[in-house]
């Protein structure tokens, strides 16, 4: 237990804390600049921990902050045991971590296992000659024809998964950008070294890792080089070490796969604690636009049961494009037409936009989507700035349009930095709708009904029951397909969530006979609704309205 800022806050000792986590994803660079150089840093982030604590989140997921040439927003790491000088020092990180823990906030960091930057010393040594001791730390080939069955992920920029190295005159394997050579996990030295990297951070006190791009760790001829048994064996090996040496720490998988392919990442509860549910996210947007629950219920029906100790991670938006890899061609076309009619919004197989602009800045839809995020089974992740409805700038390259500085107030640089605006790592949002003078934390703090205040209330209600993070789900299937309704249960607690996905008022009849005799208590206003009887339970719902009811037998 720690004493901080006048209150005692303790981190839960529950080994399954991640099930109750409310995760906030943030890039150190984007949140708060304390040094005035135009780039966010750990000291700045530490200064904003009270804001995050007040918001109600209890876990932070930091995007890569390691030394890097920053050609892929830090996912091209050139040193795994340090902090990028722009963000501060290792001591700054330690100070931040301690301050976060003091507020009951856990910290998850990125671990990019699959590849390094081509500027990493390992690769520089590896490419320096074919007989260098680190030559075999990467995947080299005389031809670019091996592993032909492997798809190219960054279709917009890469023509092949092989790149020619003019130094050592061989091709090297890369699943992402060509400046990100893949590590060779068939080499035991690499396996060992990457575990040592993780140990380094675990010893400093981080609470878990988001393991990046895990399906691609190992390559085999004649396969698509994704989700291979050898990859799972490696991940299980790391998990066993984690449990043995650092119980209570957590692995989160980034595996953009179909639900049935994600099962093995949980395995028997001995691989990952959590994995992102990638296919659900686009279907939430699709269901909203179609005003039809089918895409959502269908994908959740396809989702396999996972071990009791495991958990899905849910998100609406993140630092990447809204990926449309896990949808059918017809669904992708629909999503593009509905959410990215302007072609500049499209990137790779996705849409590079933030939540608020995707939803036309419609407060009701933003609330509904957040309501779904918080009430469907899994641990929710809020992307920084989405709690105030920040916009995006598609004119910035790659995915940088959704990585602009956090908007704290209407003053100089939106309160993000004291640097000259020209020095900021990214231009601020300036337009009259989403610009920092219109959308910022300070102004939204002033009003009880601002999006920020509403998000705080939402998180508080979510935290009021463990059902949301741990409970089972049972869908109701009212005849009105515009209404998505489900019952969440955990122990003696039962919660009913009813969501109107449509833009118009709806009447819905719910078959709640199994709960006959219970009264419904609306969780936000704590108002009592009529007792459940034998007849279908009739609810009328406004456009995009949702209800959470606690069922009480009185």
């Amino acid at each position: 237990m720690l004493f901080a800022f006048g209150v005692f806050v303790s981190l839960s000792q529950d080994l399954q804390w991640y099930k109750d986590a409310l995760i906030y994803q943030v890039h150190v660079r984007s949140f708060q600049d304390s040094s005035g150089d135009g780039i966010g840093d750990f000291r700045g982030l530490a200064q904003k921990l009270d804001y995050l604590h007040d918001l109600g989140i209890n876990t932070l997921w930091l995007m890569p902050f390691f030394p890097s040439p920053l050609r892929d927003d830090g996912y091209d790491i050139s040193d795994y045991r340090s902090v990028h000088p722009s963000y501060g020092t290792l001591d700054d990180f330690k100070g931040f971590l301690e301050a976060a823990h003091a507020r009951g906030i856990r910290v998850i960091i990125e671990m990019v296992l699959n590849h390094t930057s081509d500027q990493h010393a390992w690769f520089q040594q590896s490419r320096s000659s074919r007989d260098n001791p680190r030559r075999d730390w990467y995947v080299w080939s005389d031809t670019d024809t091996r592993y032909q069955g492997t798809r190219i992920i960054f279709l917009d920029t890469e023509l092949s998964n092989w790149a020619w190295d003019p130094v050592s005159k061989q091709y090297y394997w890369h699943r992402f950008f060509s400046h990100q050579p893949d590590l060779n996990y068939d080499n035991p030295e690499v396996r060992e070294e990457m575990w040592e990297v993780m140990r380094f951070w675990l010893r400093l006190g981080v609470d878990g890792f988001r393991l990046d791009a895990v399906p691609y760790l190992i390559e085999r001829e004649g396969t698509n080089c994704e989700n291979l048994p050898e990859t799972h064996a490696l991940l299980k090996e790391y998990r066993a070490r984690l449990d043995r040496e650092f119980p209570g720490k957590m692995f989160l998988a980034e595996a953009n796969q179909w639900p049935e392919d994600l099962g093995p990442y949980f395995s028997a509860g001995d691989e990952f604690h959590m994995a992102f549910h990638f296919p659900l996210m686009p279907r939430m947007f699709m269901g909203l636009k179609l005003e039809d629950r089918k895409p959502i219920t269908e994908i959740l029906q396809r989702t396999p049961e996972i071990p009791q100790t495991c958990q899905w991670c849910l998100f609406l938006r993140n630092h990447d494009e809204l990926t449309l890899e896990m949808v059918t061609d017809m669904e992708r076309d629909y999503m593009y037409d509905e959410y990215a009619r302007d072609r500049s919004m499209r990137l790779n197989l996705g849409i590079r936009r933030r939540l608020a602009p995707l939803l036309d800045n419609d407060r009701r839809r933003i609330e509904l989507m957040n309501g779904l995020l918080m009430s469907l089974p899994g641990t929710p992740i809020i992307y920084y700035g989405d709690e105030i409805g920040m916009g995006d700038n598609v004119n910035l390259g790659d995915r940088n349009g959704v990585r602009t500085p956090m908007q704290w107030d209407g003053g100089w640089n939106g309160g993000f930095s004291l640097a000259d605006p020209e020095k900021l790592y990214s231009p601020l949002m300036l337009n009259p709708v989403y610009g920092y003078q219109a959308v910022n934390v300070a102004s939204q703090k002033r009003f009880e009904h601002s999006l920020l205040s509403w998000m705080k209330r939402l998180l508080a209600v979510r935290k009021s029951s463990a059902v949301f993070g741990r409970g089972s789900i049972e869908f109701l299937y009212p005849a009105n397909h515009r209404v998505l309704a489900y019952v969440r249960k955990w122990g003696k607690e039962t919660i009913l969530a009813v969501n109107n996905l449509s833009s118009s008022a709806q009447a819905v009849e719910l078959d709640l006979r199994a709960y006959k005799g219970n009264i419904l208590i609306e969780m936000f206003g704590r108002n009592i609704f009529p007792r459940i009887g034998d007849l279908p339970y009739l609810l009328t719902m406004g456009p995009y309205q949702f209800y959470w009811f606690r069922l009480r037998k009185v």
Binding site: M330, Y334, H481
Partner: protein, 422 residues
Amino acid sequence: MPEESILTDDFLHELMSVGEVDLLVGVPTYNDAASIGQIVQAIRAGLVKYFPRQRAVIVNADGGSQDQTQELVRAASINDLQQAPSPHALRTLHSISARYGGGPASGRGLYAILAAADLLHSSACAVISADSTNIEPEWIAHLLQPVCRDGFDLVTPVYHRHKFDGLLLRNLVYPMTRALYARQVREPYPSEFAFSGRLATQIFGQEGWAEEAEQDGAKLYLTISAITSGFKLAQALLGNKTRAQSNPPADVVDALREGVGPLFLSLDHYPAWRSNAPSEPVPIFGGRPELTLDPLRINRKRLYDLFRSGVEELAPLLNSIVSRSTLRELQQLASREEQDFCYCDELWVRTIYEFAASYHRAVINRDHIIQALAPLYRGRAYTFLLENRDSQGEEVERNVEALCLTFEKFKPYLEDLWDGRR
């Protein structure tokens, strides 16, 4: 006991669950279990394939079937309760079935579908006959696309037909409707058609439509209403037309009651027929219909005999319906040998117009008038069969066109009769 509404509470309840839609496909049924499954599956395939993004519903308006008709329709839904999800369907496709009030009648079924289209704010609606067993998914596209894409309000079908199929249609219903209402709609009494939400709302809101729904010929009134109210019309080629074998071939008198009675009655309801505008063509989407020429065994002699005996036996009745000169000509015709028999266009058109005027005046019971037309129609059919026995498709079409022009030319004769000038 209060009068039962065509739109029953159950029907309303089902519609409530569906909510607003973009497209509605209606199928009126009554004990159609033998064919309905296949038809609804084709509709479903058409909607999923050609309109994946639109909110759509299949509405079965049932007259109180005792077989499995309604269950088969409901089974065609695409929803999130299915064991195997439909990867090709973006959204829920409701398929609802409800009994309309008042007992089985095609007009009530259509009225219930119109009401559903209006209540669900459907922007386009198609109606498919439950006996169209050769329906293809493409029919749905052909019918609905002119409404959705091109802004037409009523799309009636055209089919590839045998040259001797649809004799009543070609000899009476089409040419007379065309002459009266000045639009060249090949199937004014369609079994498959599509209409816009605007038209549905207008028709549904028209006073007296609920009563007309009680009569035969509601579909004909829909066509005529669309024409006379200035809605945009189109036709769509659907392919070949066959019907479910389970249905017995229509009796001539029944066919006349269903097709001709309402047409005659429309003269009382739609004064627009008195306009002297020449008929205008209606665009056809999907290509030109063709006539097939396969040899067909038809008992022409029987038609001839029935004409002769009919004219002889019904002479007192015909005397009160048609003019003296027309009756005389009919009697002369009845006395001719089979090889000399020709019920020519002009005499046929005069006969029909005189029947229509008598129907208007109700000189005798109107149903008796329709029944009295049966033998004469058989005589005309005999002439059509004989005239076109060796004709190719184009020649048959020319003959039909000539008859249409005769109907148009003699329209003033009908007006004279109507106004008592003859």
